[in-house]
């Protein structure tokens, strides 16, 4: 009956008040979330945030201190790992070095008393899916990192689990291969329709692949949403800084104008869409992504929100864009990315500049947030 769970339990992954403590330290702290069936879900966070511990609890490799884990209606909290409807792609792949690629992939199938012919059909099919049928008779150590990675995915998905867990699956690959594998993994997920739960510390990786991202910090989920939601409307400074870069400028809410809040930034009033504000009191952190700023020499015409009195303190040209550090009148620097898509001359260090941006690109956090939380 319990064995059936590995083939029959289907549905959303539900974590209820999941906690894992080591003495006084809570690696995962009262975490609750629902991963909808068929989605590509990413747990994103810095190392030590509890994301891998969460994944290992779902896989059954760690025992939760409290809380429960469901797949659909089935409670798998106390189930042995080998009875769970879950397969894992391990960090560094953990392929069996003594078995051929065929036997590696067939390992899970053979534990289920499937006929030899069915095993062969299933393995051949998945090898074709990952486009490596020629490797069936090789041993893992004869394969490149990218190939081993795909075999690790194949070995897991061939079992048609309800849930595929990926623990930093691309961490050992070089940048170019990583990009390629991101696209490939996303494609495989769409192709087979299994729920993927992907753990990573790489925000770009999470944003490229996942439908939904949960940003974790200190054992808790800071914010959960689509990549767009998290990037455009972060709710905490940690999310604002961990996903991309943000300029967070402290200010006072001074009024309201239709759908916008008016916030006073060191004497300059700027508009922030109310829908993107999570400020609870009067003090707020106004957030603007570096690429949303327009930068112009002092005296040029501007529109939208405007901040004057900046002085360029550093310029770096990086091809697609130019990155400026601009020292503002209140003594702090802001970061500006300007696309190199016009004939505007590059501004020199020391130039007096004015920054402007459209109000809709502004978000606001509560003033009590720590400005540098989650910075890289």
């Amino acid at each position: 009956m319990a064995v059936d769970a590995s083939t029959s339990a289907r549905g959303d992954l539900i974590l209820k008040n999941l906690t894992k403590s080591y003495g006084d330290f809570s690696a995962v702290d009262d975490l609750s979330l629902v991963v909808p069936k068929g989605s590509f879900f990413a747990l994103l966070g810095p190392s030590g945030c509890g994301k891998t511990t969460t994944l290992r609890m779902v896989a059954g490799l760690e025992e939760p201190t409290s809380g429960s884990i469901f797949v659909g209606e089935t409670d798998i909290t106390d189930m042995k790992p080998y009875r769970r409807p879950v397969n894992t792609v391990f960090q560094n792949y953990a392929l069996f070095p003594h078995l051929t690629i065929f036997e590696n992939i067939a390992f899970g199938l053979r534990r289920r008393g499937i006929t030899e012919a069915e095993v062969k059909t299933a393995v051949d099919k998945v090898l074709n899916l990952i486009e490596l049928p020629q490797l069936a008779t090789r041993k893992p150590n004869q394969l490149s990192g990218g190939q081993q990675q795909r075999i690790a995915v194949a070995r897991a998905i061939v079992n048609r689990p309800a849930l595929l867990l990926l623990d930093e699956p691309l961490g050992a690959l070089d940048l170019k291969l990583r990009r390629q594998m991101q696209i490939e993994l996303k494609w495989i997920q769409t192709e087979i329709g299994i729920t993927f739960v992907h753990v990573t510390h790489d925000q770009e990786e999470a944003m490229t692949m996942a439908d939904t991202i949960a940003v974790m910090n200190k054992g808790k989920i800071e914010q959960m949403g689509t990549p767009e939601e998290l990037y455009d409307s972060p709710k905490t400074a940690f999310v604002a800084n961990f996903l991309g870069q943000s300029n967070l400028i402290p200010g006072e809410v001074s009024g309201s104008d239709g759908d916008n809040l008016i916030v006073d930034l060191f004497g300059t009033k700027v508009a922030v869409p109310k829908a993107r504000s999570s400020a609870r009191g009067n003090s707020a952190l106004v957030g603007v992504r570096p690429e949303k700023f327009r930068i112009a020499a002092e005296g040029k015409s501007t529109h939208g929100n405007v901040l004057t009195g900046g002085v360029v303190s550093d310029v770096s040209y990086i091809g697609v864009s130019t990155q400026y550090q601009v020292e503002m009148p209140w003594g702090k620097e802001v970061m500006v990315f300007e696309q190199n898509d016009d004939e505007e001359e590059m501004l020199r260090k020391g130039a007096k500049v004015v920054l402007s941006w459209e109000p809709i690109f502004t978000f606001a956090l509560d003033g009590s947030e720590n400005v540098s939380a989650g910075s890289h």
Binding site: A59, G60, K80, P81, Y82
Partner: protein, 295 residues
């Protein structure tokens, strides 16, 4: 350094200086082997076909290969016993050492280093002393006999020294570290994530052991059994100290022929036969276990 390299290249007639260094590093080892292994083996081989001369201790080369047949025929029983005792001792040592090595490699946590020191600790005492200690342990006043007698497993008149049991357990005890250390080394090298992966792929604890742990530890099993079996089969100290005359092994026969009877040719022929037999056995064994295919 350059001059040194140039010289070595001349010695070996090699044009590429870099490739000479590894050969140079081989020289001490090769010299050692030549002086202390090849030369003695050669003289042992010569001795094995000689016949006694006029005086005691004088032998004449007559290429009498029937020495081998005579020597073998006269000690068939001890020959078989050597292999049987060696095999039993190896099996016992493996049965004790595998769980031990497994526990040290996977379950010992902070105690790992202390346990490893304890495994090696017997080496601080000489082989001979350890065997005598084993005689004490199994002896009349020792704890083993008194426990067995109290439990009525053996009768008051039965003793367990001077028996095959004492010799075999003595061999297993003496060579246990040789079994444990290679086993530990190969188990310790296993990535624990491959074991987790097996569990993740529906293998229960026993299947994981059978399909992943055991195959991955085979190099250690083979190394450990060879390091135990080879010296155990050729040993004579355990049989001398712990056995009765009916437990004599081939090592005892060779020892007696060399030092007591002064029949060097027979002793040499027996030594060669033992070596050849062990060599054939381990060749079959390593071929069968297919260790060359393991990573």
């Amino acid at each position: 350094m350059a001059a040194f390299r140039g010289a070595s290249a001349k010695v070996f007639g090699l044009k590429d200086n870099k490739s000479a260094l590894p050969y140079l590093l081989l020289i001490p080892g090769l010299l050692w082997l030549a002086i202390f292994f090849i030369v003695p083996i050669f003289s042992l081989g010569q001795m094995s076909t000689k016949v006694p001369g006029a005086d005691i201790g004088e032998f004449v080369q007559e290429y009498r290969f029937s020495n081998y047949i005579d020597a073998f025929n006269s000690s068939k029983e001890q020959f078989l016993r050597s292999f049987l005792y060696g095999l039993l001792a190896t099996i016992i040592a493996l049965a004790i050492a595998y769980p031990l090595a497994y526990a040290i490699a996977f379950k010992s946590g902070k105690w790992k280093n202390i346990l490893l020191v304890l495994v090696v600790a017997p080496f601080f005492v000489s082989f001979l002393l350890r065997t005598i200690a084993w005689k004490q342990i199994l002896g009349e006043e020792g704890p083993v006999v008194s426990v067995l007698r109290t439990l009525n497993i053996i009768s008051v008149n039965t003793s367990i020294t001077s028996s095959a049991f004492a010799v075999v357990t003595g061999l297993a005890y003496n060579f246990l570290p040789f079994m444990t250390l290679p086993l530990y080394a190969s188990l310790e090298r296993i990535d624990p994530r491959t074991l987790e992966a097996a569990g993740d792929l529906y293998a229960n604890g026993f299947t994981t052991f059978r399909k992943v742990t055991l195959p991955l530890s085979m190099p250690g099993v083979v190394a450990g059994t060879l390091l135990t079996f080879i010296p155990a089969a050729g040993d004579y100290i355990n049989a001398t100290i712990l056995g009765s005359p009916s437990n004599k092994m081939l090592g005892n026969v060779i020892e007696a022929r060399f030092f007591k009877i002064v029949d060097y040719p027979a002793a040499a022929a027996l030594s060669f036969t033992l070596m050849a037999a062990i060599l054939i056995l381990i060749t079959i064994y390593t071929k069968r276990t297919g260790t060359e295919e393991l990573v």
